[in-house]
Amino acid sequence: MDTLLQNFWTPTSTDLFWFSPELALVGTIVMLLVVPIIMGKSARTSGRIALFGTVATIVLTLRVAGVVQTQGISGLAPPAAAGMLILDNLAIYFKIVLMLFMAGIIGLWFIGSAEKERNGPEFFVIFAGSALGMVLMAGTLNLLMMAIAIEMASLPSYAIVGFKKRNRAAAEASLKYVVFGGISAAIMLYGISLLYGIFGTLNFAHIAPRAAVMLHEGQNTLILGFALICTLGGILFKIAAVPFHFWCPDVFEGAKIEVTAWLSVSSKAAAIVLLLRLVDAFSVGAVSEGLSAAIFNNLALGLAIIAAITCTWGNFAAYRQRNIKRLLAYSSIAHAGYMLMACSIFMHPGLLGAGYSIGQSPMGAVLVYIMLYAIMNLGVFAVAAMVIWQTGSEDIDAFNGLGRRSAWLAVPMLFCLVSLVGLPPFAGFIGKYWLLLALGEAGTAYASVQSLGTIYWTLIVIAGTNTLISLFFYFRIIKAMFLTDDGQPAFTPSITGATMANLCGIALLVMGVFYIQQPRDMAEKYATHLFQPAAAMTHTMTTTQDVYNEKPNAADPDFRLTTIDHEQEGAQ
């Protein structure tokens, strides 16, 4: 009995404090379910509870933020076991951005849907559930947890897309989402099982350095590559990278606009952060084995190609769209492509030699971009929602003459769209500029590594060219707003909505001119002091051989896996 209890693990209060933001979200979900039973069903009450939940999550995240000093914490697991969840600056940054964005979306819901909504509690339970999944996605290096988190984010998303259950388009979108999502989840699980088979552990922090060694020694590279591709497939699905993007336009078109706005940023951002984490683990893992991060150059090349295609495809496909939601869907694909470009940089401080102490340049750039992208999209979707609710049409023609009909919406829309194109003096340009700078940094640093340097410089040219392509379709909306006028009646938008849109527009202008440096510094701060898998492992391993010969720990859930590992070795 005692031995059985030994294997039971109860988190300490410290553990629970670290993960209080997630618990706050869970609490919100419980409240959303319980309160209607007591007080009766009211959509507005549910909305307020959800809003309160996001605020509480932000507050708790800020309180927890003080804990992260240098390395980040990997926890919520028995002592000495591999942590399931990670609390570090990256996770904190993402939580804050996501929760602020969620508050914006709830605000949007209050303006447009609160009156009509009859299933408020259900809607927000699903909504908060997907947010919880995304928060978990951004805070794990454990493959099992990763799979669970992605599913946790996906399943509510499927439901929330089809929430308008009498709407055929919504049902179709939801079904499409489920089918694509299910398949890519299956592929990802297959990849994870292969990785588990190869390495005998689900902890990516252990996998990455050993993968680097395997690549270095040239063993099993084919199966390793296949496993990694499958695993990344699941993440790329959430990012909606080409060729996993097919769900995106249909889902965006079918869903309610506030849901579309939510998915356009959150699911992509969460997956991008997860990818960044994996890339970082790879780089650090390689370095901890005394190898260059360039050992993963094939993976980098693959990501770079996917990024380039995603970006270009999104921009070209958007050109043909007349439905504003579909157009913005392709726009979001294109922007995911820009962010993926920087994700393809496998780089770590210290591996580049003197003169290139770059800090976390690519990651910082992506984090800034995520934040700016969230602001731009919130502004664009707020205005689009207001126009759609006013006119009942999702066509670009609904924007005709908006400059006259409602200047308070048209001007922030202009700011956000120009920012999405990436033109100064708006912050979108700055975001893109940091990405280009990161790519240039990588291109210079890897100039001597096979083709890597060329890849990054090519990406810069492709990113630049894509700015030009994207000009077409964003300016079709601008043209409709200011240059075309077919005499549609003027209207006064809701004050909250106009305020939200204008705040986004002004923020973009201010961050594009006066506060260029500060967001970047902040993101750099959050991009450093990550949970470093290799550093965390140094006390248990010095060489690869030690990992293989590591004494199995009775309390280690990886115990059996380590045994399998030895058996495999013996078999060889």
Binding site: S357, P425, W457, L468, L483, Q517
Partner: protein, 570 residues
């Protein structure tokens, strides 16, 4: 606003002891229009044009303060003193403020003035002021919606233009460069003619296509300069402090004078994506500027933009925006990548020549008055490209003069078109005739304007063209194609004379037509725009040295000298 003197520390015995004046005059010039725009935003609608005019006027008067430091440069001994021993050694009105600081880079708000941009800044504020006067009758326009928005965009455009000309940090330059796009897009797209939407997006697209490549060059140049100073710290002495540079830089003056950077950038072994760095980067920058110039074959946006744009916008477009192309060549392309310029020289000269001839032939074929003037602009700017492409002192001087001369004559021509369009409501050349008899004062002005554009000796257009041709001849030792090209370009003057004379004959000469009889003579407002321009056309024609060459030659010669030094190494 008393200039504060800053003495740089001497790094060695022979250099860098220099006095530069640090003032915020240029900053005021840049942001005064933006401030005016802000004022219009909160002012009643009737006040919009008054505020705009006041802002433009004050900006112009302030810009005259930029001239005095450059006075007295005509004296050869003084020229040395003014321009010092290296290119742009004596930059005036400098102001540098750290703007974006990173661990390994710093982007500065860095503005300054030398002989290259001083005349262009004054031209900008002058043309903008006249264009503002030309917008005075906004309420009578066919599309007279929202005068506040019009004047706000108008002033934002001025901010962008002045900013481009005075920026000495490439990043800052790029920001201002792109900042001009949006106001121009709306000025054409909202207040333009029947095909305004097409013209506006075409303008935007062409310019952005060029500036996208410029952005790539911006990033690449930064990282290659970082490599350069890391590889050759012995050569990487900063132009400003004399200390060894340790990071890459966006500073245009540093990029064009630092020996380590010059060596790395122009070396044949420096590669970018498998191509030679100097030639590739030169081309990336060149495309961006060639679109603005505009040069054949990226000129097609210009006739559309001009035809659709309202008259004041056309004046600014022709008078100022086109100069940014030429300015970009002289400020960025050639000083930083002389080897690239040398490699492409035959190609560029050919482009210039084709622009001259093609533009003139197209102008001859036009029946639309404004389109004709637009094509004549392409032809005239071809001289700028041709003069620059031979990389000689005279060529550069000619190109610079041609830019200023065109900046005076073409706004005048466009305004002349605007005056008659307002009365006739059409621009069909063949339906006009005898306008000189109907409107004698206007006719006189028109003759001066178009003859200046033709390049009649004694008027401003002549000096630029002849200087360019002389410059091309001068380069015959270096380029075997120089003489035939010069001869062809000289012959093309006949084409220019052809279309201008034919135009004058069809529009202004001949019998007075009854349908035009009721046209009122040019008003006082219109004359107040035409007379200053006409006076300048004449003055620049007879006093080219005192009005322009004295100010610009020092800087231009230094640029050419530095270029030749670099070329001599390769």
């Amino acid at each position: 606003m008393r200039p504060r003197s800053v003495r740089h520390q001497p790094a060695s015995n022979d250099g860098w002891v220099d006095v530069v004046q640090e003032t915020s005059l240029l900053t005021i010039l840049i942001f005064l229009p933006a401030l005016g725009a802000l004022g219009i935003l909160f002012a009643p609608r009737e006040m919009a044009r008054v505020i705009a005019l006041l802002t433009c006027g004050v900006t112009f008067v302030l810009s005259l303060w930029l001239i005095p430091p450059f006075l007295g440069a005509g004296d050869p001994s003084a020229a040395m003193d003014i321009f010092g021993s290296a290119y742009g050694d004596k930059l005036h009105f400098l102001q540098r403020i750290p703007w974006i600081q990173g661990e390994r880079f710093s982007i500065e708000y860095f503005v300054g003035l030398d002989g290259l941009n001083m005349p262009l800044v004054v031209l900008t504020t002058f043309v903008t002021l006249l264009a503002c006067v030309a917008s005075w009758n906004f309420h009578t326009w066919k599309i007279n919606k929202s005068s506040k928005a019009y004047f706000i965009l108008f002033l934002m455009l001025e901010t962008g233009m002045v900013g481009v000309f005075v920026s000495l940090d490439f990043f800052l330059f790029y920001i201002f460069w792109e900042m001009m796009l949006l106001p121009m897009y709306f000025l054409i797209g909202v207040w333009g003619g029947p095909r305004k939407e097409y013209a506006a997006i075409k303008f935007f697209l062409f310019t952005l296509a060029g500036s996208v490549l410029m952005l790539v060059a911006l990033v690449a140049m930064f990282f290659y300069s970082a490599d350069a100073v890391a590889e050759r710290p012995d050569l990487a002495l900063s132009y400003w402090t004399g200390e060894v540079l340790t990071t890459g830089t966006f500073d245009i003056i540093e990029l064009s004078t630092n020996q380590a950077i010059q060596t790395k950038f122009n070396d044949g072994g420096t590669m970018f994506l498998g191509l030679r760095f100097a030639t590739t980067m030169f081309m990336f920058l060149f495309v961006g500027f060639a679109v603005k110039l505009p040069s054949f074959p990226v000129h097609t946006w210009l006739p559309d933009a001009h035809v659709e744009a309202p008259t004041p916008v056309s004046m600014i477009l022709a008078g100022v925006l086109l100069k940014m192309g030429g300015y970009g060549f002289l400020r960025l392309c050639y000083p930083i990548f002389p080897a690239g310029g040398y490699w492409w020289s035959a190609f560029l000269a050919a482009l210039g020549l084709v622009s001259i001839i093609y533009g003139a032939l197209c102008a001859m074929a036009q029946t639309d008055f404004k389109r004709l003037v637009a094509y004549s602009s392409i032809s005239h700017m071809g001289y700028v490209l041709l003069g620059i492409s031979v990389m000689s002192q005279t060529g550069f001087q000619g190109a610079m003069f041609q830019m200023i001369a065109h900046g005076i004559s073409s706004p005048m021509c466009f305004f002349l078109v605007g005056v008659v369009y307002e009365r006739a409501h059409h621009r069909e050349i063949n339906r006009f005739g005898g306008l000189w008899l109907t409107m004698p004062k206007y006719g006189t002005m028109a003759t001066i304007g178009f003859f200046a554009s033709l390049g009649l000796p004694g008027l401003c257009g002549f000096i630029g063209e002849i200087w360019v041709l002389l410059g091309v001849f001068e380069a015959r030792d270096r380029f075997e194609w120089a003489v035939p090209v010069a001869i062809m370009a000289a012959a093309a003057v006949i084409l220019t004379a052809g279309y201008v004379l034919w135009l004058i004959q069809r529009v202004y000469l001949g019998k007075e037509k009854p349908e035009h009889a009721g046209f009122p003579e040019a008003t006082g407002r219109e004359m107040s725009i035409l007379v200053p321009l006409a006076v300048l056309c004449i003055l620049f024609g007879i006093l080219p040295k005192h009005l322009l060459f004295d100010y610009v030659n020092g800087t231009l010669n230094q640029i050419v000298g530095t270029m030749q030094d670099v070329l001599a190494m390769y």
